[in-house]
C-alpha cells in the first residue's frame, strides 16, 4: 500500500557515486596483512596442501595441483594428519596466524615441544640419562630449519624453566 517513492535529488547523487564506486570493488586482501615471508617460498609439499593460501603473490603451480582449498583444512584434525615436515613448514612460515597455532597443536600431539630459549622444536628420543629438578640430559631430535630436516643431538640439556 505504500507505493514506490521518487528518489530525491540527494539520493540520486548518492546512487550515482555508489554506481561509480562499485566499479572499484573491494578486494579481500585490502583488509589483510601482507605476509611477505610466507609468500616467497613455495615448496612442493606446501603447494600441494595449501595452494589457495598463497597471497598476494600467487605462485604458478602445475594445473594438477588441487585448485580449491581442501575441505575442513582449518580443523585441528586436518592438521593432525599432516606430515611433520609440513607442520614445521607451516609453523615457520605462517607466523602469527591460526595456521601456525594449529600446526603447533599438531606438533605437540606428535610429542614435539617448543623450546622458547632456543626457538626450536625438539622431541625426546630416549630416556634421559640424568634427571634433576633443574634439568634432564638425554638425546633429542630437533628440527633444523636451516637444513630443513631433523637432527639428533646427544647430551642435550633440557631446562625445565623454559618448558612452555
Amino acid at each position: 500500500p505504500l507505493g514506490p517513492i521518487q528518489l530525491p535529488k540527494s539520493c540520486l547523487y548518492q546512487l550515482h557515486m555508489l554506481e561509480a564506486a562499485s566499479r572499484h570493488s573491494v578486494h579481500p586482501i585490502d583488509s589483510q596483512r601482507l605476509r611477505y615471508k610466507c609468500c616467497y617460498v613455495s615448496a612442493e609439499t606446501y603447494a600441494i596442501v595449501f595452494r589457495p593460501y598463497l597471497s598476494p603473490n600467487v605462485c604458478p603451480v602445475p594445473s594438477y595441483y588441487p585448485q580449491q582449498a581442501l575441505p575442513h583444512c582449518d580443523s585441528v584434525e586436518f592438521f593432525h594428519r599432516l606430515s611433520t615436515e609440513t607442520l614445521f613448514f607451516v609453523f615457520y612460515f605462517m607466523e602469527g596466524t591460526k595456521a601456525q597455532y594449529l600446526a603447533a597443536k599438531a606438533l605437540k600431539k606428535q610429542s614435539w615441544r617448543f623450546h622458547t630459549k632456543y626457538m626450536m622444536w625438539f622431541q625426546r628420543h630416549e630416556e634421559p640419562k640424568t634427571i634433576t629438578d633443574e634439568y634432564e640430559q638425554g638425546t633429542y631430535i630437533y628440527f633444523d630449519y636451516e637444513k630443513w630436516g631433523q637432527r639428533k643431538k646427544e647430551h642435550f640439556t633440557f631446562e625445565y624453566r623454559y618448558l612452555e
Binding site: 500500500p1 505504500l2 521518487q6 555508489l18 561509480a20 586482501i29 597471497s55 598476494p56 600467487v58
Partner: protein
C-alpha cells in the same frame, strides 16, 4: 591549504620516504624509531599542533596520490594484476599506517597515567579526523574517479594494530632519555600495552566516530569499503565480542556503537530499497548487508534481539526478508518448539511470560510527543474520549516533510505507540494471564481497534506491520501481540481489515526464509482455529496460487 609552505611539503615527503625505507629495511623498528622522531622534531614537525596536523594531512595526501598513480597504471583486471598493484600500494600505505601506530603508542609521558592515555587518544583522534577529512575532500574533487583503497587500507591497518592488544611490532623501549625529552613515554618494556589496554573502548569509539563521519549517506563512494570495514572480523570481534560479552550477562560496551553503524547503513539503503527494482550497486550493497545480518543472526543473535526495534524502524516496510531476518533472532540458550507441532500450546511455554530484551530502551520516539499525556490518561481512565478520534492525526506527517515519498505516516512513531500500548497492556494483564479473553475490552484494545477501523489502507498497513513486528521468539510480547492480532481479526466487522491482516502475515511468509517463530505460530493458529472461520472468507480464494499456498500450509500443520 594554499597557506601550505612549499618547504613543508618537501620536508614531509623526505621524512615519509625516510620512514618507508626504515620500515622495510629495519628488523627492529624500535631501535630507529626514537632517532626518527628526533629528526621529525629537528624538522619542526612536532613543534605545534598545526605542524603536526599539516604533516599528517600531507602524508595522507602523498600516500593517496601514489596509490592513485599505481592504480591507474594497472594493466588489466586479472586477479594477479590486482594483487600485485595492491601489494605495491601497501608497501607505502602499511608503512605510513605503522608510523601512526608507533607515534600513537609512544605519545604521552608519565606512563600509566590518565594524561598519557589521553595523549595517545587525542593523537589518534586527530589523525583519524585528518584522514576522514581528506576522504571527504577527495570524493568532492574526484567524484566518480574516487577510489577507496588508500583510505581503507590505512584505516583497517590502524585498527588491527591499535586494537590487537599484543605488541606486534616487537617494540621494546630503550634509550629512555630521548623519548622522555620528546614527550614520548619511556618506561619498561610493557608500558605501551597496559596504558593502551585501558583505553581500548575509547580507541574503538574513535574508529566508530570516524566511520560515522564516513557513513555511506555522507561518502557514498566509500560505502563498499565502509561495509567491508564493519564486517571485518577484528572489528566485529572488538564491537560485539568485547570483554563484557553477553556470556557474562553484561552487554558488551561495543554493541551500541555497532548498532548505530548498522542502522546508518540501513538508513542509507532504505530509500533505494523502497523501490522494487534495485540498481546493481545497491543490490550489491544490499546483498553484502544481508550477509552481515546473517552473520549477526548466527553468531550474535542476542545483539539482533537487543536492537530489533531500532533496526525495524530503519528497515523499509517492503524489505521484508531483511526484517524477517532481524525478527528471527532468538537468544542462543533458548529452544524453540517446532511451530508446526500439532496442538502446540504456546501459553504453556515457560519463556512466554518473560519480556524480550531491549524493549525498555526504545521508546525514545514517544518520549516527547504531544499526545503522550493524553495517551497515558486514556490508558488509565479511557478519557479524554476525544483521544481516539485524534490519534490518527497525531500519527500522520505532512507530505511536504518527505518529498517524493508517499508515506503519510510517522512509521517509528506508530511502531513506538504499538509497542508502548502493548507493554502497558501486558503489565495490566500480568504476563501469566495473556489470552484472547484477557486482552479484550481494555483501553489498550480500544486503541488498537480504533486504529484498525479509523486508519486508511496505508495507515492500517503500517499499524498491522507494527504489531507483526512483535511476533518473534517465545516471550510475553510475542504472545500478547499474537493474541491481539488474532483478536482484531476475529472481532473486526469488515472483511477488508481481515483481508489486510492476512496480507500482512502472508507477505512475511511467502518471502524466502528465515521466518520468525511468532509469525509462523500466529498464522498457523489463524488458519487452524475454526473460531476464526478463516476459510469462509472470499479473499482466501482471491487467486489460485494464494489458495494453494494456504492449503499447503494448512496441510503441513493440521
Amino acid at each position: 591549504y594554499d597557506s601550505d609552505p612549499p618547504e613543508f611539503l618537501e620536508k614531509t615527503e623526505r621524512l615519509l620516504r625516510e620512514w618507508i625505507n626504515l620500515y622495510h629495511s629495519t628488523a627492529n623498528l624500535n631501535k630507529v624509531f626514537h632517532i626518527y622522531v628526533q629528526s621529525m622534531n629537528n624538522q619542526g614537525i612536532l613543534k605545534t599542533d598545526d605542524s603536526i596536523t599539516r604533516f599528517f594531512r600531507m602524508s595522507t595526501e602523498i600516500c593517496v596520490e601514489l596509490t592513485y598513480r599505481f592504480l591507474s597504471a594497472q594493466q588489466n583486471q586479472s586477479n594477479q594484476a590486482v594483487v600485485e598493484v595492491r601489494a605495491k600500494c601497501f608497501n607505502t600505505l602499511d608503512a605510513f599506517a605503522h608510523l601512526i601506530v608507533m607515534l600513537v603508542k609512544y605519545s604521552g609521558t608519565n606512563a600509566g597515567t590518565a594524561s598519557e592515555s589521553n595523549a595517545k587518544l587525542n593523537l589518534l583522534k586527530k589523525v583519524l579526523g585528518i584522514i576522514a577529512s581528506v576522504v571527504c575532500q577527495d570524493q568532492e574533487i574526484r567524484n566518480e574517479q574516487f577510489q577507496h583503497l588508500a583510505y581503507y587500507r590505512i584505516l583497517i591497518i590502524l585498527f588491527m594494530e591499535l586494537t590487537l592488544g599484543t605488541n606486534n611490532l616487537g617494540i621494546s623501549t630503550s634509550s629512555q632519555s630521548i623519548q622522555h625529552q620528546l614527550g614520548f613515554g619511556a618506561v619498561g618494556s610493557n608500558h605501551l600495552d597496559p596504558s593502551f589496554e585501558n583505553i581500548q573502548l575509547q580507541v574503538l569509539n574513535a574508529f566508530c566516530q570516524t566511520l560515522l563521519i564516513l557513513k555511506p549517506s555522507k561518502v557514498p563512494s566509500f560505502a563498499f569499503a565502509w561495509l567491508d570495514f564493519i564486517s571485518h572480523r577484528t572489528f566485529m570481534e572488538k564491537c560485539l565480542n568485547g570483554p563484557n560479552s553477553i556470556n557474562a550477562g553484561v552487554l558488551t560496551k561495543g554493541w551500541p556503537l555497532y548498532a548505530q553503524l548498522l542502522i546508518e547503513l540501513i538508513k542509507f539503503e532504505s530509500p533505494f530499497l523502497r523501490n522494487v527494482e534495485l540498481p546493481n550497486s545497491v543490490d550489491l550493497l544490499y546483498k553484502g548487508t544481508l550477509k552481515v545480518l546473517l552473520i549477526l543472526l548466527h553468531d550474535f543473535p542476542e545483539f539482533l534481539c537487543e536492537y530489533c526495534y531500532e533496526l525495524c524502524d530503519a528497515i523499509p516496510c517492503n524489505a521484508i526478508q531483511m526484517r524477517n531476518l532481524v525478527l528471527s533472532a532468538f537468544p542462543r540458550n533458548m529452544r524453540l518448539p517446532d511451530p508446526f507441532t500439532p496442538n502446540l500450546k504456546i501459553d504453556s511455554l515457560q519463556e512466554i511470560t518473560q519480556p524480550p530484551k531491549g524493549s525498555t530502551t526504545t521508546l525514545a520516539a514517544l518520549a516527547n510527543v504531544s499526545f503522550k499525556k493524553d495517551l497515558e490518561s486514556y490508558l488509565r481512565t479511557r478519557s479524554p474520549v476525544t483521544f481516539l478520534s485524534e490519534l490518527r492525526g497525531y500519527l500522520q506527517i505532512s507530505a511536504q516533510s518527505q518529498p517524493g515519498d508517499s508515506t503519510l505516516y510517522n512509521i517509528p512513531l506508530i511502531n513506538a505507540l504499538v509497542l508502548y500500548v502493548g507493554q502497558m497492556a501486558i503489565q495490566a494483564i500480568n504476563p501469566k494471564n495473556i489470552s484472547m479473553s484477557s486482552i479484550a475490552h481494555s483501553s489498550h484494545m480500544d486503541i488498537f481497534q480504533n486504529l484498525a477501523v479509523d486508519l486508511d489502507t496505508q495507515g492500517r498497513y503500517l499499524f498491522l506491520n507494527a504489531i507483526a513486528n512483535q511476533l518473534r521468539y517465545p516471550n510475553s510480547h510475542t504472545h500478547y501481540f499474537s493474541c491481539a492480532l488474532l483478536y482484531l481479526f476475529a472481532e473486526s466487522n469488515t472483511e477488508a481489515i481481515q483481508e489486510q491482516i492476512t496480507r500482512v502475515l502472508l507477505e512475511r511468509l511467502i518471502v524466502n526464509r528465515p521466518h520468525p517463530w511468532g509469525l509462523l505460530v500466529t498464522f498457523i493458529e489463524l488458519i487452524k482455529n475454526p473460531s476464526f472461520k478463516f476459510w469462509n472468507h472470499e479473499f482466501v480464494r482471491c487467486a489460485p496460487e494464494i489458495e494453494k499456498l494456504f492449503e499447503s500450509v494448512a496441510r503441513s500443520c493440521m
